[in-house]
């Protein structure tokens, strides 16, 4: 069963169209990446999924239930980490963690103390005096110590230092291993690349691409570096005549070019005939995919 399904989801604020037909399907047990730049509609989508905002059109279901009408019932099985953590200044960090866990209604898995230690968090300070990263830890500890079925994480690592990011990634791996579903919104692509099985890219309120990282790479180009026995200038001319080769150039006797994945066979055949000495081919990083989408 799909955990999250939205169909043609739209949201208008006055005249501004924040979401323009979002279709999402997140399956049980997967870690789903939701990437896009600031203001693309990531948080708006999440706020609709949580029943904080009411959709202007389309449908949004979590666990097969309507996000707006069944919000409270759905929340019992959700752990949510907001992008910007707003705290009650006069509560201590420890009190706020307990409050958040208790208000969800589910049970504490008993990981509280372990998480407080792993995240190196001092729970006795007043919330108002925590730094951004420490406020974020409150939300993370409250989320990961609960036994939710769906973890909705909205840019959860903003403000965390690299060590704490490792702890976070480990927490995500653990809940994934336990068969839970994770919906991770982020613009830190390395994080998404390492954790997520499937990805959607959102741009100006529309999903512009989605699939597994593998599938998305198939649609794109590899970067190739090659040296040949034949004179590079000649090879360059030959390459440029082939379909599926882009931005070819020679630098210090090496040939650099981008290659469409479906042109691999013909390009390799040609290069072999020119006597390949050395060749590397790297798949695009998510960064490159992302930049490719956003420059269109």
């Amino acid at each position: 069963m799909s955990v999250i399904t939205t169909k043609g989801l739209t949201k208008r604020f006055g005249k501004v169209e924040a979401l323009r037909g979002i279709d999402l399907t997140v399956e049980q047990g997967e870690v789903y990446g939701f990437i896009g730049p600031n203001g693309a509609g990531k948080s708006t989508t999440i706020r609709v999924l949580l029943g904080i905002l009411r959709a202007s059109g389309g449908t949004a279901h979590v666990f097969g239930r309507d996000c707006w009408h069944d919000a409270v019932g759905i929340h019992e099985r959700i752990a949510y980490v907001p992008g910007e953590m707003n705290v009650w200044q006069n509560l201590s960090g420890g009190e706020m963690i307990d409050l958040l866990v208790r208000m969800r209604g589910g049970s504490d898995r008993g990981y509280h103390d372990e998480l407080v230690e792993r995240f190196d968090f001092d729970p006795t300070k007043k919330c108002g005096s925590y730094s951004k990263g420490n406020k974020q830890k409150i939300a993370l500890i409250a989320a990961f110590s609960s036994d939710a079925d769906l973890f909705v994480l909205d840019e959860p690592t903003s403000g965390l230092d690299p060590l704490m990011e490792l702890v976070f990634k480990d927490c995500v791996q653990k809940v994934k291993a336990a068969g839970k579903t994770v919906f991770l919104s982020s613009h830190i692509l390395s994080e998404v690349e390492q954790l997520c099985t499937r990805i959607s890219v959102i741009k100006e309120g529309c999903i512009v691409d989605s699939g597994t990282l593998q599938e998305m790479r198939h649609l794109t180009r590899n970067s190739v570096t090659v040296t040949t026995r034949t004179d590079p200038a000649t090879v360059l001319d030959g390459l440029q005549a082939l379909v599926g080769v882009h931005a070819a150039k020679v630098l210090n006797g090496q040939i650099f070019f981008h290659m469409d994945n479906n042109a691999t066979a013909s390009v390799m055949g040609y290069l072999t005939s020119q006597g390949v000495e050395y060749l590397t081919s790297t798949p695009p990083t998510l960064e490159e995919l992302f930049i490719q989408h956003y420059n269109q």
Binding site: I52, P82, N90
Partner: protein
């Protein structure tokens, strides 16, 4: 060095004015309209010389003295009458304006991280505070001058320029003292809430000090120690005592200097008073919305309950003086006797009025308990709650429930406080606690109606909620001045309190009591239904 600490002060000043280009004029015009429009009403109170003399005797009534200030002068004039009835309340309003003005540009900016942003620019350490000081001083100067000009220009008999200047200057002086006080508390407390609580608490204490001091005797020194009591002792239109104004300005200057010293010595973002450490795990009570909100509101409620207790006690303690005032004043006896009133029924009428004023004060914490949801929503914390297994209905109904509890608490405290003080002052249980309890319970539906209205407005659109405060100020004006003026009945009835029977001066009536309760329920329901349908900000 001096140019370093004050770098970019001018720009900061213009920035404050830009931010407050609506807020500040609204407050200034509001204060001035209130001060000026009321003078117009006074000649209507007493048309003949004789009526004026009787009115003068009425103003010596201990209840009036406790509420407003001492009677003074050789003979009564409209100027003196106006000062005694209006100066303290207008000064309180000006004081609140100054506290809000100062805190919004000092501690609140600092708490929300804006000061840090400004201070990272080439702006001097003392620039913000200095710019704020200039704005506050200028505002109070405007209030002083325009009030003086406005009062004189109306050409009411007995309201001359010299007296009006002192009146305006006393108002401005009180404003400056509260600006200084708020600046000091902004340095001491590390949160806006704390600084606000200290400042408004000081206002209440100063009011009660002068209420006690104005009753005369050895206690009068208390009035001199309170800026409100001191302002009254400028005796406008009689002594025109400018020394008092100088004293107020001197006190303000001392407070400002102290604030500067503290502000340049302490760390940005911190208060002088240390932050306490908290518990590492939450207690049992902190387990849901009601627990959370109760925890957030407990100190506010406690502070207001104390205020209501003292206010009730302050009024209760004058009943003894009132009885002797009646017995020793043949003119009042003749006047009251003509309308068939004796000292007991006069007392009942005064109880009704004073307890309504106390109930008006109690409305503030009741409405605050509902509207704190608005603050929670604005600060993004309601989202945090509602993304858990918590419903919107529970959020609003829970807050209304807390408001209901607080309303009952406030009225009980008011009844017990007034009764206890009256009994102590008179030496025997002259009036009976049942009278006070029924009076306060009678007012309960009106308090709740305000809570219901707050809930309805919040549910419909949070930006409409200030209308509740407008209705409260209007109701207060109707109670305070409505009796003296020929206000049409429909205008009186817009104030929820006026719809209820004036117990104990009149018989208790069930119909308006139940009617207002129904109004509360309906408004609350409207609020809940609308709140369920709208987006969260």
């Amino acid at each position: 060095m001096a140019s370093q600490t004050l770098a970019k002060c001018g720009q900061t000043l213009r920035f404050i004015l830009r931010l407050d280009r609506v807020w500040l004029p609204v407050w200034l015009v509001g204060c001035l309209v209130l001060a000026l429009a009321t003078l117009q009403l006074f000649p209507g109170f007493a048309q003949t010389e004789e009526e004026l003399t009787v009115f003068g005797e009425m103003l010596k009534n201990p209840a009036v003295v406790a509420m407003c200030g001492p009677a003074y002068g050789d003979g009564i004039t409209f100027g003196i009458m106006y000062t005694q009835m209006m100066l303290v309340w207008t000064a309180c309003l000006v004081g609140i304006m100054n506290v809000l003005l100062v805190l919004r540009h000092s501690r609140r900016d600092e708490e929300e991280g804006r000061t840090e942003l400004i201070r990272s620019l080439p702006v001097g350490k003392a620039s913000s505070l200095t710019a704020l000081l200039v704005v506050a001083t200028a505002s109070n100067l405007v209030i002083a001058l325009v009030t003086a000009a406005g009062l004189t220009a109306q050409g009411v008999e007995g309201v001359d320029l010299a007296g009006s200047l002192v009146y305006g200057a006393a108002l401005g002086g009180v404003g400056l003292v509260f600006a200084g006080l708020a600046m000091l508390f902004a340095q001491l407390a590390s949160t806006t809430r704390g600084a606000m609580a200290f400042s408004l608490g000081a206002l209440l204490v100063f009011y009660l000090m002068r209420a006690a001091g104005d009753m005369g005797g050895d206690a009068e020194v208390l009035s001199y120690l309170s800026p409100l009591g001191l302002a009254l002792r400028s005796f406008p239109y009689f002594d025109n005592n400018w020394l008092v104004v100088l004293a107020l300005v001197a006190v303000a200057a001392a407070l400002v200097v102290l604030s500067y010293v503290l502000s340049v010595r302490r760390d940005q973002g911190a208060g002088v008073l240390p932050q306490r450490r908290g518990r590492s795990r939450a207690g049992r009570l902190l387990n849901g919305q009601v627990g959370l909100y109760a925890r957030q509101l407990r100190w506010v409620v406690l502070a207001w309950a104390t205020g209501v207790l003292f206010c009730g006690a302050g009024y209760g303690s004058v009943f003894n003086d009132m009885e002797s005032f009646y017995n020793s004043n043949p003119m009042i006896q003749a006047l009251m006797g003509a309308t068939g009133t004796d000292s007991y029924s006069m007392m009942m009428s005064v109880i009704s009025t004073l307890m309504t004023i106390v109930a008006c004060i109690a409305v503030v914490p009741v409405v605050t308990c509902v509207l704190h949801l608005r603050a929670e929503e604005g600060k993004g914390r309601l989202e945090l709650v509602l993304s858990r297994k918590q419903s919107r209905v529970a959020a609003l109904v829970g807050s209304i429930g807390i408001a209901l509890f607080v309303a009952v608490l406030m009225q009980l405290v008011a009844a017990v406080g007034t009764w206890a003080a009256a009994t102590l002052a008179m030496g025997y249980d002259a009036i009976g606690i049942d009278v006070f309890l029924i009076t306060c319970i009678n007012h309960l539906p009106a308090l709740l109606l305000f809570a219901g209205l707050a809930a309805a407005l919040y549910g419909i659109a949070p930006r409409l909620t200030p209308l509740v405060w407008v209705l409260l100020v209007y109701s207060f004006m109707m109670i305070y001045l409505g009796g003296f003026l020929d206000v049409p009945q429909w205008a009186m009835d817009l104030a929820p309190f006026s719809l209820l029977a004036r117990y104990p001066a009149e018989e208790f009536e069930l119909v308006p009591f139940v009617g207002l309760l129904l109004g509360f329920v309906v408004l609350s329901a409207v609020g809940v239904v609308c709140f369920r349908r709208r987006d969260l900000r």
